[in-house]
């Protein structure tokens, strides 16, 4: 723990998050991943969009950038392409990454640019007071779904897989050791890596859906998720209502900025002729 404090801007505390919120747990996991890889803090850039998750970079002692709603990946793309030495981590919420920022997400995946994209999925717009998001489960209640959500949710990982990334994983803030592993794997990956983290928003989602305290919400993460390996052996019936977690894809694919370096070499050659 004491080691982790080196990565935190303690003078910026107390943080803005509600008691019981899962976002801080994700922050801890990211910090442990950076520490494990022994990356120089000066070479880490953390970029976020808007929402509760958007505040995370402010507390981390990296080069930090809090951008506009949904656009974190576009700024991150510019940073990484301009200077590929940076380890770039984006932190987004479900509304941020999948509604307003959906276009940037699929295109970052398509390019396979070396960015770790963390999507903190708590099924709701927390900061604006609990409106439904593209991941809000059917039938759940939100301030803009007073009769229950009528839109079906995204399966984030299928979306990313179809767009083309190098690394796809899903964890929960309850399974913290596993989450540490998944995030650290994503950070080490050369290429676009997405880690979706199921997290709880007791304030704007839990309360309205009568899910009890943050602790009870986290218990659900334990009860309602199954590891990939186990899920493979389960029937469709058995998997109903369950969320599968773990590592879904880990592939070696040509990375965008490396391909661009080769393009530069080629362009210089053509130019000299």
């Amino acid at each position: 723990m004491a080691k982790s404090l080196e990565y935190i801007r303690l003078d910026k505390f107390p943080h803005v998050w509600c008691p019981g919120c899962g976002i801080g747990i994700v922050m801890g996991s990211i910090i442990r991943a950076v520490d494990k890889m022994e990356i120089n803090k000066n070479d880490v850039v953390m970029v976020s969009g808007i929402g509760c998750s958007g505040r995370m970079p402010g507390y981390c002692d990296f080069n930090t950038l809090h951008t506009t709603h949904g656009r974190a990946l576009s700024f991150a793309t510019g940073i990484k392409l301009a200077n590929p030495k940076f380890k770039v981590i984006t932190v987004m919420g479900d509304g941020d990454a999948l509604a307003i920022g959906g276009n940037h997400l699929i295109h970052a995946a398509r390019r396979n640019i070396d960015i770790l994209a963390i999507i903190i999925n708590n099924w709701i717009y927390g900061m604006t007071g609990g409106q439904y998001s593209p991941t809000t489960p059917l039938g759940s209640f939100a301030t803009t779904a007073p009769y229950g959500q009528v839109e079906p949710p995204f399966d984030v990982l299928k979306l990313i897989k179809g767009s083309g990334a190098s690394y796809i994983a899903r964890g929960t803030v309850y399974h913290i050791r596993e989450l540490d592993k998944l995030i650290s794997g994503g950070l080490q990956k050369k290429g676009f890596a997405v880690v979706e983290v199921i997290s709880q928003c007791p304030t704007s989602f839990g309360r309205r859906n009568k899910m009890g305290s943050a602790v009870e919400m986290m218990k659900r993460q334990k009860e309602e998720t199954v590891p990939v390996k186990k899920a493979e052996k389960m029937s469709k019936e058995e998997l109903k209502g369950k969320i599968v977690r773990g590592l879904f894809l880990d592939e070696e694919r040509d990375e965008y900025t490396e391909r661009y370096e080769k393009l530069i070499a080629k362009a210089k050659e053509v130019h000299q002729k």
Partner: protein, 376 residues
Amino acid sequence: MSKARIMSGNEAVVEGALVAGVRFFGGYPITPSSEIAEVLSRLLPQVGGKFIQMEDELSSVGAIVGASLAGIKSMTATSGPGFSLMQENMGLAFMAEVPCVIVDVQRGGPSTGLPTKVSQSDVMQVRWGRHGDQNVIALVPSSVRESFDLIIDCVNLAEEYRMPVVLLLDEVISHMREKVILPEKDEIKVIERKKPPKGQEKYFPYEITEDAIPPMANFGEGYRYHVTGLTHDETGFPTSDPEKINQVMRRLYQKIEKHKEEIIKVEEKYTEDAEIAIFAYGSVARSAYSAVKEAREKGIKVGLMRPIILWPFPYKKVSDLANKVKRIIVPEMNMGQIIAEVKKVSFGKVKVEGVNRIDGELITPSEIMAKIEEVS
């Protein structure tokens, strides 16, 4: 002296940008600006620069702001509808004080409007397109050669003042091919962003400095500071403390207010003894100049005032002009956008009249001449 060359305004923008040190372009195709992206996609990698075609205009500005924070001079190019999409992230660049350049080759609107024809319809969008208060810098070239000069000024101003700067091009200039003689590299002044002094331990990215322009460290240089679009204190961290907000936001506004006399650039022709003045910018200023010369031959005392930098607006110069002439004519290829600024400082002094076209055709010298004869 370099050799004479034939090139379009869009090509001149590319040449100038490269000379000024632009090494990153992120953009999205849109007529009539696409040649800028096309040529840069070929030339940038030859000098080790980066070109990326983004998924839309929102991300184009995101990418160039990111690249600039990483220490690379960066730009994008677009037209009206794309420029509308860029406003949000441009707002962030103003707020977070990140240098970058946006070229807007204007086209008629609203909406898809007139994609291939000439217009000056974004002169107010550039000024007021975003929410909140911010002072802007926008340059308006009248020729291909001036497009070269002014894109360099754009990059320099962006670096000097830590902000987005816009080059507003008229379609006719972007596509017109003219003979130009470009200056030698050593005749061109290139400005780099002001850095915190070497070895300085504590760095405040939004410090209240005497000149209102805080030094800018790039990401990766060891300061690990925070950048946000939220109102922030001098450390860059969000704040809702009214006193701090007031300080930082006023400093941001003052940045241009304080230096506007150095920034403003206006060209005047025959205004000393003029009784009628024409206030025209961009390609229209060329028609206006032809009309002025014709009128002079007929013995009518007409002069031309041409802003080279449209924003900050030269209110003082226009006000002085209004004190000495009897009439001001403002021809522009919109329904009368800049005329309102001229009227602001001419009110009660002289009558100000517009000549307007919104049909995608140029305002001709004879149209301006007709107006001169009508009022003289």
